[in-house]
Amino acid sequence: MTDELFAEYEDKLPKKVLGELKENIPAKTAKGKVREIMDTAVKEYKESMADPGECIGNVSAESIGEPGTQMTLNTFHFAGVAEMNVTVGLPRIIEILDGRKDIKTPSMEIYLKKPYSQGKDIKELAYSIKETLLNDIALEFQINIVDLSITIKLDRELMRRSGFTSATILNGLKRHTKSYNVKAEGDEIILKSRSKEAALNSLYKDKEKMKEVHLKGVKGVKQVLPVKRGDEYIIVTAGSNLLDTLNLEEVDPTKTTTNNIHEIADVLGIEAARQAIINEVFGVIENQGLNVDIRHIMLVSDTMCTTGGVKGITRYGVVSEKSSVLARASFETPIKHVISAALVGEVDYLTSVVENVMINQPVPVGTGLPGLVTKVKVK
């Protein structure tokens, strides 16, 4: 019976508050009382909102900046068979907020479908995701200048353990070595050049190229580590390749993520990237035992994603989007900005905060924001 009453407040209160009220008001409460509760809630909600003209960006900067001084400067080491590092603390925060493309320790968290998530063949699966290059299973590469050939000596033991045979390696190799005759002899693979003259120069180059031949696994995944999280097994990786991983059959594509924001923006779109920034920054702050309201991080993340791509809080990113010359100049490299503005004849309309501070005028913030309009009486 009170359902219609709740429906009335749907655009006045956020869904979460409404749900909590619905749950906590006893069903037998009189209609008038319920209305009274709802009206109080609306009033409280309106009072808790930021006022128009409130400089929320400043508040966010302070709220994130102060706890930032207490963060660690080190990287965290994963204990286990495989040595793995993950950047955390202040360096990680700087990395995310600068919107860097090449992050220090790219890493994925791969969630698995059943039955793999329960631990079935988890080790084998992890190793099948790990990238194997020819260099990883070869003992040595030899160049023979006289008969223009390259000899690759393979590690039997390693091959057996990772499930390779000479034949599978040959297959993988053949696609990359068109100008060579390839054949296997026991533990060795011998590549003989087809042409006589040009080969001598390129022999060494080709040898180096062959070391990087991709044989198995997901490109870019350098290290894998199966971990138990809660009651399911996941695979943590060093190195990141979201697109190829999501396309794997055993992987649960709805939860698997990477810590590379730009990669998420490319594969899943800008909205996913925004959410990823929030998750990453909030994760770091929580990990450090600090307490920052998530709304501040949401604001920063929204700012970084307004242009449709991920932009860092740097002079090349969001600051370069500002329309005012003086505001840009006040951030970093002032001379560069002033000169280029002078060259194209830019006009500054003094509509924002920094430029008004610079010329000693009231800033359009808080009570400085509204203007006063009066009707002038004509005599």
């Binding site: 869904k15 979460k16 594509p253 800008i270 909205e271 996913a272 449709g308």
Partner: protein, 82 residues
């Protein structure tokens, strides 16, 4: 992009619901906020989440995010060419 994702990315936990606004809705939103279309935050036409929606520059996309503070938050983005 040469390679393609072979699953519906809207099922991914990070991706919120995207929907194109009709002209009437668009008008209502712009009137409510008293702005023009290009004052809204942008989303690129080539954005991965818009692959299955037929959009052109100037369209408004309604995004329904799940928010830890509000439960559900609605956000609007304007499609741009790029």
């Amino acid at each position: 992009m040469a390679k393609k994702l072979n699953f519906d990315l809207h099922k991914h936990a990070l991706v919120p619901k995207h929907a194109k606004c009709s002209d009437a809705e668009k008008k209502k939103i712009l009137k409510h906020y008293q702005i023009s279309v290009y004052d809204l935050p942008y989303i690129r036409k080539s954005d991965a989440a818009l692959a299955e929606i037929d959009v052109k520059a100037g369209d408004v996309i309604k995004i329904s995010r799940t928010s830890p503070t509000a439960g559900e938050a609605v956000y609007y983005r304007c499609v741009i060419n790029e």
